[in-house]
């Protein structure tokens, strides 16, 4: 499993035998696989954003700075397509759970980090955690 990281955002490569994709009308749906077969629709992830509908795909929002980790489609190579699946609700907005990059590698940008190039593939998006010793709880890092 390969991992790419930009600041507090992680992209974990999803093995190809774990999920399948199928077209459901105009939307693409991500289905979990078991032993190479898609089982039911349980846990399927529908496409939430697509390249032809929006220019920016944000995977993490900033709270204090207003900065964000985002793919800007107008700044990518012409054949890059990124599809976001699922949605995770955070205290500063909704972000996708998975992304699928096709065509060419995509570049993600953030105001305080160098651009990160991610090869084509299928990735789970997650945010790093930190532990608050005052409240005794873990939480996702927010900048």
């Amino acid at each position: 499993m390969k991992k790419y990281q930009q600041g507090d955002v992680l992209f974990l490569e999803v093995p190809k035998d774990k999920w399948s994709f199928k077209q459901d009308g105009s939307r693409e749906v991500m289905m979990p696989m078991k032993d190479g077969k898609a089982y039911g629709s349980y846990g399927h992830k529908a496409e939430t954003q697509s390249t032809d509908k929006c220019d920016v795909i944000t995977v993490a929002h900033g709270e204090a700075t207003g900065h964000s980790h985002a793919f800007r489609m107008s700044q990518q190579a012409p054949d890059v397509a990124i599809i976001a699946f699922g949605a995770t609700r955070t205290r500063v907005g909704e972000v996708p759970e998975f992304i699928k990059i096709t065509g060419s590698p995509a570049v993600i940008k953030h105001e305080e980090h160098n651009p990160l190039t991610i090869p084509t593939g299928h990735y789970r998006v997650s945010i790093v955690r930190e532990f608050d010793h005052i409240s005794g709880t873990a939480r996702f890092v927010v900048d």
């Binding site: 790419y4 990281q5 790093v128 930190e130 873990a138």
Partner: protein, 328 residues
Amino acid sequence: MSIYIDKTHSLDKRDKLRDLVINKKIGDSLSLYAGYGYKHLVFHCIKMGKKTVNVYGYDRGWYNRIDHKVPVMKITKDHFTFIAGSFSHVTHDRYRHDREIGHWSYTFRGFLSMGIIPYAGLRYLRKGTLINFSDKEIATFYPMKVSWDGELLSRIPKKAKDFTESCYKEDRDTKNAAARSNYGNTRVVRLMKEAKIIGNWDKVKPMDVFSLTNVTKRTELIEHFGMETILESVPNMRVDKDEIDGRKYELLRFSFPRSRRNPLESETVPATYLKMINPSTGETCVEGVPNNAKNSWSNDVTMNTVKEALAWRDGDPDNIYLEPVALT
């Protein structure tokens, strides 16, 4: 969190069960399927004597012979007696839960979801499960007698009373700790804002870095005071240092005073932090990691390496750090 009670079918199920207890003959039976969220559970009620019905609980996806032999509940025309908290499969080694008091109880959850016993519900606290009746709330215990009207008939054992109190205490402590953290963060953010306006940072202390929940604000304060000043303000030791792909990390263990109200109090608690440098900007930041790598609630201090801390931070499986192919 509580149970969704299936009120649409509850009266029908209650009438059928009452009919079985009072009117049916010995050997007759009735199957009751649990409500929303527990539909995989089924209760098989068999009339065993003139006035008694035994209830056997099953998981429809997990057959176990012992479930046919040991009833989880007995019912008479006056009351229900909950004998066991769980069916056999949840006492399987993997899910073993030896606690008798405050057990999270499959029997209660599944049975209450049908709405047969009115005015009864469950409340899950961090330490255990409490069952609430119309007039009282108590940790689950066995055997427990409950009337058809949802009144607790059993005498409450002292163990259950004590356990209930300890559940409340832990719940209170957790809420207070969250409130303290929230208050600390809000206070420091306000003081920083004021300090920027008036240009006087006297009210902000280096120790306040640890109260901030936002990494950017924390980094701002570290830049203002300097990391050395912050490290001098709180007793600490370096547990480990490491260099991964040219990036330097340090694992620091601070000794925080147990009471923030009295910083001079000698009793301290350990708090582990990971110090690192943003590879893109060169800024230093510190982020908390639990003292125990495997169980963040534990008081045992076992987090001893930078890699363990990074693995926890990234949520890597088996706490083995997976180095990123690229990090910016």
